[in-house]
Amino acid sequence: MKPDLIQLKKLASQIRRDIVRMVHACQSGHPGGSLGCTEFFVALYFHIMKHNPKFNMDGQGEDLFFLSNGHISPVWYSTLARAGYFEPKELSTFRFMNSRLQGHPATHEGLPGIRIASGSLGQGLSVAIGAAQAKRLNKDNHFVYALMGDGEQQEGQIWEAAMYAAHNKIDNLIATIDYNGQQIDGAVKDILDLKNLKAKWESFGWEVQEFNGNNLEEVIAGLEKAQTLARKGKPVLNLMKTEMGFGVDFMMGSHKWHGVAPNDEEFAKAMAQLEETVGDY
């Protein structure tokens, strides 16, 4: 099926508006990584994945997605709402008390679409591999997707999981790294350099490809390619180059907007850059 790029781009614009409105309303949260990964989420939930918004925790007979870098919850929440998992108006409760939309994703409050808590970094890939193994045992021929951060690659558990997945030929798994080069304290290369990340993953036994994460056509093509690379005895990793804060000019290309909310003036500037397309929540 060919993607409806015009519609998908409209959704991306709306999701970016949602992200900025959510973090502005509660004056907290992580807009940078959320904005940078918007194309990825739109491609995944509105074109790539076979998934059921009538949420079922076991997720048998559908593709699954796990977010390991849970702090970019705004983009996931907006995507889930716009995909029909829950009413978009619930986005207004983000990070407020008694909300299902916790600061970091959780199953605890029963938000449809979330299958594991994340936020403490490095854990999501292991969970995704476990879910992929359950699919194998259940003879369920669907994919498991996972997204990680690049700063998150500094966590040791990631490499335990990387070794395990390759050794056990977990080839129904498609993992992606948001390769934006930024983390809270600065540029990843200055904090703890990942050096040749592609070579690292390849040497662990993964099939690795790279694509631009802020071009919707390239993201779709990349994920479709990943599906063809899968099921050949190796887990698949996408190194997805993105720009933190993409879509809002003053938030782009810096670690400064990793976890900071815009003030009223900045908010107005951002809103002027992001078109309302399918209706604000």
Binding site: T107, G119, S126, A134, E160
Partner: protein, 317 residues
């Protein structure tokens, strides 16, 4: 009530292995993961019969906890196996976020707990695991007393829904529970009826308390002995009923005095029925290499230490 004796000794870890094997035959959703300690955890029988449901994860416990959480998504019931130290302290945050907070049906099965691990020494003799696990919301914590009870507890976990921690050990230990003795998670098991003092014990210390009771009976002291195999949820009703009857309490555990069974019992007494309590436990110290029974003696966990604690608490009545 009958006095408890034994004719055979076996390690509680073998009870786990036997229970897991039986559970594997009973329920095809049961899967097992092990971090390079299959023989030590007695998981070989399960591995041999169900190779497709057994996951060797290597020396990577953090990944093992995440894998287990993921396997529940799709309806599997994962049992993880490694030493108690690597099952808890090493992977506390993985358990907290991916298992406990996420409400995943993972059974964390931990061997070689406590001083009775013996010669390997303090690096492996975890004495803080009950505390760490019981603090996690909704975590069930079970510390069975002998081979038969560990087997029964393992099988019971197959039908239990939610995260659970099962703690057992390495040494051969008296088997005093009959194989058909009923076991229910969260239900205290009264072994001996008495009127002067209540001893609440768990794990290997239940047998130590059985021996202490015989010595105390000779001195004319009537002991009520209750096996608290489930530390959490605690059988508060049974604890209170016995404390109200005997009006003084001794707790026994192979764990730090901070954070274990004694803490849980003291909390109940403090809130609902203040009564004198003495705790037989490791007193804020690490262990060391040695023979299990020698270590239990040195660190104050022998039957004689229990006798002393009982005599002390009786004077405070």
């Amino acid at each position: 009530m009958t006095k408890f004796t034994f004719t055979e000794k076996k390690d509680t870890r073998s009870g786990f292995g036997a229970g897991l094997h039986e559970l594997g035959r009973k329920n095809s959703n049961v899967v097992a993961l092990c971090a390079d300690l299959t023989g030590s955890l007695k998981m070989d029988a399960f591995k041999k019969e169900f190779p497709e449901r057994f996951f060797q994860v290597g020396i990577a416990e953090a990944n093992m906890m995440g894998l287990a959480a993921g396997l529940t998504i799709g309806g599997k019931i994962p049992f993880t196996g490694t030493f108690a130290n690597f099952s808890t302290g090493r992977v506390y945050d993985q358990i907290r976020q991916s298992i406990a907070y996420s409400g995943k049906n993972v059974k964390i099965c931990a061997s070689h707990a406590g001083l009775t691990l013996g010669e390997d020494g303090a690096t492996h003799q975890i004495l803080e695991d009950i505390g760490m696990m019981k603090m996690l919301p909704h975590m069930t914590v079970i510390v069975p007393a002998d081979y038969n009870q560990t087997k029964a507890a393992t099988i019971a976990l197959g039908d239990h829904h939610g995260p659970a921690y099962l703690r057992f050990g390495r040494p051969t230990w008296p088997i005093f529970n009959a194989p058909d003795r009923p076991f229910a998670i969260g239900k205290a098991d009264k072994l001996i009826d008495g009127k002067d003092v209540t001893i609440f014990a768990c794990g290997h210390m239940v047998w130590q308390a059985v021996e202490a009771e015989a010595k105390l009976a000779e001195k004319g002291i009537s002991v009520e002995l209750i096996n608290i195999h489930t530390i959490k949820p605690l059988d508060v009703e049974a604890v209170l009923a016995s404390a109200q009857k005997t009006k003084c309490v001794v707790t026994c555990e192979e764990h730090q005095i901070n954070g274990g069974l004694g803490d849980s019992i003291a909390q109940v007494l403090g809130r609902f029925f203040p009564a004198p309590i003495e705790m037989v436990a490791v007193n804020d110290s690490f262990g060391e290499s040695g023979k299990p029974t020698d270590l239990l003696k040195k660190y104050g966990l022998s039957p004689d230490n229990i006798v002393t604690a009982v005599e002390k608490v009786l004077k405070r009545k």
